[in-house]
């Protein structure tokens, strides 16, 4: 009797474990298909990162707008971390007022393109006064002017297979992909406040803030608003660049998702 019972218990426990494991596997696949798993889902910390990212993508409305502020609230001091690309190519473009600068867009797009600064400035402009917080804790409010990334994505025709939009700054000698590169998922790439910004507080984008063009992502921390752009690539996988974690920040111990 007790033998049968224990065997029954064993079989039940085994079945439950198998069902649980299969359920987790299916849940993981489904979550991945619906873009709920961050590309830096690795190791111990990946659990927290994935829970945060997935729950925000499920629970928060995709089109919620970051708060916009009044001109009088613009900060007098707008600090930066890091400096411009350390090479001659960038210095030459800077000296020439970025007249020869081009932003290439390739990858999963119908019409790969290359835009000059004047091209971008001819497109419909969007201006926003938003708060930018550094992951370190400090923050400032500034006015940004640029073309919505969604406008440019529509121009080049993004494939429905697209999952990420990668941003690369100027390559440097020891950083072939640029010093700080990264990606957005499609909800933040298509978001109406996500800009390719070329103006700040009524002037051309200052060099320390990423001249000639940076991306502005007001629904994420400042380190996602990558500077000194030179190339945008649309992909359906994060695996092709660096360690495959979606940006250079996870390779330095920071998370890929900055909505926090």
């Amino acid at each position: 009797m007790s033998k049968i019972l224990s065997r029954r218990k064993l079989v039940t426990a085994g079945l439950a474990t198998a069902a649980g494991a299969a359920g987790l596997g299916v849940a993981g696949r489904l979550a991945d298909r619906y873009g709920l798993i961050a590309p830096d889902r690795h190791f111990f910390y990946g659990v927290g990162e994935t829970l945060t990212y997935a729950s925000q993508r499920i629970l928060l409305p995709p089109h919620s707008l970051a708060r916009e502020f009044d001109r009088s609230q613009i900060s007098k001091i707008c600090p930066v971390n890091g400096g411009p690309p350390d090479n001659d190519a960038y210095q030459r473009l800077l000296a020439g007022g970025f007249a020869d600068w081009r932003l290439t867009i390739d990858g999963l797009v119908a019409r790969p393109a290359s835009f000059s600064l004047a091209d971008l400035q001819r497109f419909p402009a969007h201006t926003q006064i938003t708060h930018q917080a550094c992951e370190e804790g400090w923050s400032f409010i500034a006015e940004w002017t640029g073309v919505p990334l969604s406008y440019v994505l529509n121009l080049v025709g993004v494939s429905p297979r697209a999952k990420y939009v990668f941003f690369f700054p100027f390559p440097e000698k020891s950083f072939p992909l640029g010093k700080k590169w990264g990606s957005l998922d499609m909800p933040d790439a298509w978001h109406p406040q996500t800009l390719l910004a070329y103006g700040m507080n009524g002037q051309n984008l200052p060099t320390p803030h990423g001249a000639p063009v940076r991306v502005r992502v007001p629904r994420q921390l400042g380190f996602k608003s990558l500077k000194y752009l030179s190339r945008i690539t649309v992909t359906d996988t994060a695996k092709d660049f660096g360690k495959g974690w979606g940006s250079s920040s996870p390779e330095h111990g920071f998370s890929w998702y900055g909505g926090i």
Binding site: Y45, P61, S75, K76, A133, P218, H252, G253, F254
Partner: protein, 244 residues
């Protein structure tokens, strides 16, 4: 000899005479307590790591080096390092803490643990009663056996404040620093006066939690560390040992 559990916990107490142990904590309370301790330790260490990236506090929407501050901590600015793993550990610990806390609160309501063990009675909330408890604490009086298994009014109010005020404030101000969450629920940050105010409140509320932890550990030590820790692990603790 008074069997103290008959006063408060008679329903769950072991009824074998001669065993002085009495049931102090239900299994859910014990399990969630230790998971919470682990989560709080993770949050504290990682919170300090994040703080080291910018040990300076502001009030209002924005603030940075060069703008007036509310508080400058005498700590170095450590850029590029601890805030990375710090934030990863902070979020992992926060998830553990929040899920665990939900379980604790839900079970506390369903089992009437809050109402029975933490909610002070009307009589306890009178000034006479509170001042009696306070003066007892100030004179380092040890509670009698019959009261040692129940929380006094100060303990009850403190636990309720930690569970239902301080920890929710931590979660709220944490959300208020998340640009994606705030874009969906802007009131989270506007009622606090701004994102930097939220960060500052997050810091001061965490200080109060650390103060609670220090007092909690001191009280546990004064009441008999081994016995109280054993009670929180096994659920049983001798009511008499610490009062002989």
């Amino acid at each position: 000899m008074v069997r103290a559990e008959s006063v408060y916990l008679s329903g769950r107490a072991e009824r074998i005479s001669g065993i002085p142990d009495s049931e102090r904590h239900a299994a859910v309370v014990r399990i969630t307590h230790w998971i919470n301790a682990l989560s709080f330790f993770g949050l504290l260490v990682s919170g300090f790591a994040i703080l080291l990236a910018h040990p300076r506090f502001y009030w209002g929407e924005a603030g940075a080096v060069g703008t007036p501050s509310l508080l400058d901590l005498p700590l170095p600015f450590m850029k590029g390092g601890p805030s990375g793993w710090g934030r990863n550990l902070h979020f992992l610990s926060a998830w553990v803490g929040v899920l665990n806390g939900c379980l604790y609160v839900l079970s506390g309501i369903l089992t009437r643990h809050f109402r029975r063990d933490l909610l002070p009675s009307k009589a306890d909330l009178g000034w006479g009663s509170i001042s009696r408890v306070v003066s007892g604490h100030l004179r380092f009086e040890r509670p009698g056996v019959e009261t040692s298994l129940a929380y006094d009014v100060l303990q009850r109010l403190t636990y309720l404040a930690v569970v239902f005020v301080l920890l929710p404030v931590m979660i709220w101000t944490g959300f208020a620093m998340a640009p994606a969450i705030v874009s969906a629920f802007p009131a989270l940050v506007t009622v606090l006066g701004g994102q930097q105010s939220a960060r500052t409140i997050h810091f001061f509320a965490s200080d109060l939690l650390v103060l609670f932890l220090l007092v909690h550990l001191t009280m546990v030590s004064l009441a008999g560390f081994r016995n109280r820790v054993r009670a929180m692990i096994t659920g049983r603790g001798a009511a008499r040992v610490e009062h002989t």
